[in-house]
């Protein structure tokens, strides 16, 4: 068997991606996103969307329940902090495994149906997890208050290694390096880069090709000698593990887990991130996640005062109209913008931003080769 490796082109893509992520604080400074709290979110939700894309982008199975795995990851990480150690490494390992375990269970049942049945089943499971987190599972989830650290937590490993946090409430740290601020971001960034590399390998592998075939024509794939269900289930579990990891990282940067992370709106958000960037593309979901979190951050911060300043140049009457209309979309109304964005993307650009980019570049290259022999270059898949 020939030893196989990724191509030079992919290696370059990976190198550029790595450099861009690591230089994130500098690159994103001009647009006002160069501070660690937001950068952490970019990286974490980038992982969430990357994983979701392995399921939805490749196999076409639209899950509406992935927030459940995010929530499970967060709870697991906080429990690992409480019971074992404040070191983030065991926390994210357990979070990833737990995300995988839950997605294996839910995926096994949900994947018995396809199409909309599948979407509804995953939605129902996620709602079930959410309801249970608020009710019966309160001893584990601490219900509405959310799961928090306490001084009296056992932290068995920390105690065994003689680490004592004293009388303060500890925060997660990697051998003494606190997981807040830039160290927290770089921890998440390294995870994002690892996840991106895994995704890249999957995309270029025979396994990834099979997943695309599941989306394209499941019937043919069956008659081609392929058992499609384990392929879809594997994709589901991988995406669940990515979600669990993302949930774990949320807890690493802020050791708190609440049930609202599992709500259907959170599931909808990752769907939006993925389609906004471009489902089935490599970079799209990361860009989509970044865009959503960035605009969420900006829009939520707006208030009437800022709006008044923005529309100051208008005559009084128009200023009032402009402010009252736009104030519906900002601050508390950010979700309205999100919903509207959802519709606009699905209606006009179902292929997402990456498709938009490739459409524009096609247009440009066609114009450039105008007058040449009719054979337009075959559009490269957007990645």
């Amino acid at each position: 068997m020939h030893p196989t490796s990724i191509t030079k082109k992919d290696l370059l893509l990976f190198a550029v991606f790595t450099a861009a992520v690591l230089a994130g604080p500098i690159i994103l400074k001009p647009i006002g996103a160069g501070y660690p709290d937001l950068l952490q979110k970019f990286a974490i939700y980038g992982i969430f969307a990357l994983g979701f894309n392995i399921l939805f982008g490749l196999t076409g199975y639209l899950s509406f329940g992935h927030a459940a795995f995010l929530g499970v990851g967060s709870y697991t990480a906080v429990w690992t902090f409480k019971l074992l150690s404040m070191n983030p490494v065991p926390a994210i390992i357990f979070a990833t495994l737990m995300g995988g375990l839950f997605s294996a269970l839910i995926g096994y049942v949900s994947l018995r149906r396809s199409g909309i049945y599948f979407s509804i089943l995953t939605l129902a499971f996620a709602q079930m997890c959410y309801n249970m987190a608020y009710s019966v599972l309160t001893p584990i989830t601490n219900g509405e208050t959310g799961l928090q650290l306490a001084q009296s937590d056992p932290r068995a490993l920390d105690v065994a290694f003689g680490r004592d946090y004293g009388a303060v409430l500890p925060s997660s740290d990697l051998f003494g390096l606190e997981m807040t601020g830039y160290p927290g971001f770089y921890f998440c960034a390294v995870m994002l880069i690892i996840c991106f590399y895994i995704t890249l390998r999957i995309f270029r592998s025979p396994f990834g090709m099979m997943l695309r075939a599941v989306k394209s024509n499941q019937n043919r794939l069956n008659y081609t000698g392929v058992n499609t269900r384990p392929y879809a289930l594997t994709a589901f579990i991988i995406s669940g593990m990515f979600a669990g990891l993302a949930g774990g990282l949320l807890a690493v940067t802020d050791p708190l887990a609440g049930a609202e992370r599992m709500q259907w709106t959170a599931s909808g958000e990752v769907v939006l991130m993925t389609i906004l960037g471009g489902a089935g593309t490599l970079l799209g979901p990361v860009i989509g996640a970044g865009a959503i979190k960035y605009f969420e951050n900006i829009f939520s911060a707006f208030n009437k005062g800022i709006l008044n300043n923005i529309f100051d140049f208008l005559p009084d009457f128009l200023q009032q109209v402009a402010v009252s209309v736009s104030s519906m979309f900002v601050g508390e109304g950010w979700h309205l913008t999100l919903g509207a964005l959802f519709m606009v993307i699905v209606i006009f650009l179902p292929g997402g931003l990456m498709e938009g980019v490739s459409r524009i570049s096609n247009l440009l290259s066609r114009r450039r080769s105008d007058g040449g022999s009719g054979g337009t270059p075959h559009p490269e898949p957007a990645e």
Binding site: H2, T4, S5, I6, T7, D10, R201, I202, R204, S205, P206, F207, G208, M209, M210, R212, A213, K215, S216, N217, N219, R220, L221, N222, Y223, T224, G225, V226, N227, T228, P230, Y231, T234, H378
Partner: protein, 251 residues
């Protein structure tokens, strides 16, 4: 020695007897055609071979192994490939991918997480797929998206997808339906070449030109029952066949 053996197969749909005690022996390395008027039960019979339908009684064995109750992918892994009446291809993937997928399925089996190896455009799998596309005359379009092909090209692509798996038995459901004459002749030539490699084929076909240029043996179905099974020459002269199938007209 017979490869595919169908014994006493019955299938009812409500009051309709779709298959009436069908017996069929397909010998290894031969091209066996199944003909019959519309509604004679040809497609029903084919669907019983590949697990789409379960006969009410009777047996279907391939190389001594029963195909009944097997999942579609298991039947394929046993060496049976099928070309459908309306081409089933991976529409949004490129032609080369379309052919590589069955190739991987044959190599890796029904399920294998082969996620760390990269597919190389110049590797052995791609070369094999490319030569297959060459065989069916689609090599120039290898990077195009399959959905954009003409109907005839889609059929040829599907044939390539089946052939790349080196099947022991190839089932073809009207492989030339809707094709222009020239295309039909090309397809006949292609199938002759496939037959020369020793692939056993079962062909359902309406076009008598195709049937008589290819088949070594013909079974005639009428109202769900096999009314004759013989060489093409003898079938041509069989009065029972002419009565039932051709309404008395001569071939």
């Amino acid at each position: 020695m017979s490869t595919l053996s169908v014994r006493n197969v019955n299938k009812r749909f409500g009051g309709l007897k779709a298959l009436d005690n069908v017996n069929l022996e397909v010998e290894a390395g031969t091209v066996h055609a199944i003909i019959g008027p519309n509604g004679a039960g040809k497609s029903t019979l084919l669907n019983c071979f590949i697990g789409r339908l379960e006969p009410d009684s009777g047996s279907v064995t391939f190389d001594g192994q029963s195909l009944l109750g097997m999942a579609p992918h298991e039947i394929n892994q046993a060496g049976v490939s099928r070309v459908f009446q309306t081409p089933e291809i991976f529409g949004d993937l490129s032609l080369i991918d379309n052919v590589m997928i069955p190739s991987f399925a044959r190599r890796d089996g029904a399920f294998k997480i082969n996620a760390w190896a990269a597919i190389r455009r110049n590797g052995p799998m791609a070369e094999k797929a490319m030569s297959m596309l060459c065989d069916v005359g689609l090599d120039a379009k290898a990077d195009e998206t399959a959905a954009h092909l003409s109907r005839g090209d889609k059929r040829r692509l599907e044939l390539a997808m089946c052939l790349v798996q080196d099947p022991k038995l190839l089932l073809l459901d009207e492989p030339t339906a809707g094709m222009a004459r020239a295309d039909t002749n090309n397809t006949i030539d292609l199938m002759k070449r496939i037959a020369e490699r020793g692939v056993t084929m079962v062909v359902i076909e309406h076009d008598m030109h195709v049937v008589f240029s290819l088949a070594e043996k013909i079974s005639v179905l009428a109202q769900g029952a096999v009314i004759a099974e013989d060489t093409p020459e003898n079938i041509k002269g069989n009065p029972k066949v002419q009565e039932a199938y051709l309404g008395g007209a001569h071939l």
